[in-house]
Amino acid sequence: MSFGVVATDAGLSELEAIVMSAIVFAGSAQFSAVAILAQGGGAGAAIAAAALMNSRFLPMGVAFAPSLRGGPIKRALQGQAVVDASWALAARRDGSFDRMLLFGSSAAAYVTWVTGTTVGAVWGGALGDPHDLGVDALFPAFFLGLLVNEARSGRARGVAAAGALIALVLVPVAPAGVPVLVASFAALAGLTRGARDAMLQRQEAEGEPR
């Protein structure tokens, strides 16, 4: 909803705001691109901002890839379903993904996103201020809740702390989107001998309770 309000404020037509949500379907990238336009930036800068913001989908897609079946075109299309919330929700602790859960929650998110943009673009001003309602705390809280349940092992907690630290250090100096991308390098801790042994043990212990 807030995207519809922000985009029309930044000079996009109502239809353009709705079309953008329908075919880009990546909230933070859309906000970044529109923010650049609102500051008087050009189309190239706006597209670059969107690309950087979406760069985190690269490691997410890499993680999701082993859970996909089919040829390149089918895989490319299935990859489009990855959005932060459904990706995080569908991640299992063994590194695989619940494909159907991801598709289902992305489909629900898509309908909500496009409907919300339409409402915001057309009736924007009449609704309460999302800032007063604390809406900006919703997504980080959702990710934190998943993280708390996900990071049960000491190694996962260490990687999470390192990821957060990397992102925060980069926030003031790197373009938007890059901090989260670079934070994914914390997962390279999986290359240590201990992590590989733990992985092998887990693969051998079939039917291990989650």
Binding site: I47, R93, A137, F139, A186
Partner: protein, 101 residues
């Protein structure tokens, strides 16, 4: 094409390419153990980075505000109860309450 339309289609194409890259490049192969053990840790790394950049920063500045307190309260609830729903309900409520003060 207007600037708006250029940005919309440009962003759409580039987003498609980024999201397709991982799934296509790793087409259906059996992956080695070292790779899987990195992938397992991608979720905690990315989740923590998303939380940190959204709750502790505002654009390119580090910023602590009502939303930080709200997210922390939600995190505490998730840790104590194991419930994501509690976390998602409490965080905006605490944030909104602090802002209404």
């Amino acid at each position: 094409m207007s600037t708006g339309a250029t940005v919309i289609f440009g962003s759409a194409v580039i987003t498609f390419a980024i999201k397709a890259a991982g799934p296509v490049a790793l087409g259906g192969r059996e992956l080695p153990t070292w790779f899987t053990s990195v992938v397992v840790l991608l979720a905690p790394a990315l989740l923590a980075a998303l939380v940190a950049t959204q709750a502790l920063a505002d654009g390119d500045k580090l910023a602590i505000g009502a939303d930080t307190a709200g997210v922390a309260a939600g995190g505490l609830a998730a840790w104590r109860t194991g419930s994501i729903i509690a976390c998602v309900l409490i965080a905006p409520a605490v944030t909104a309450a602090l802002r209404a003060l």
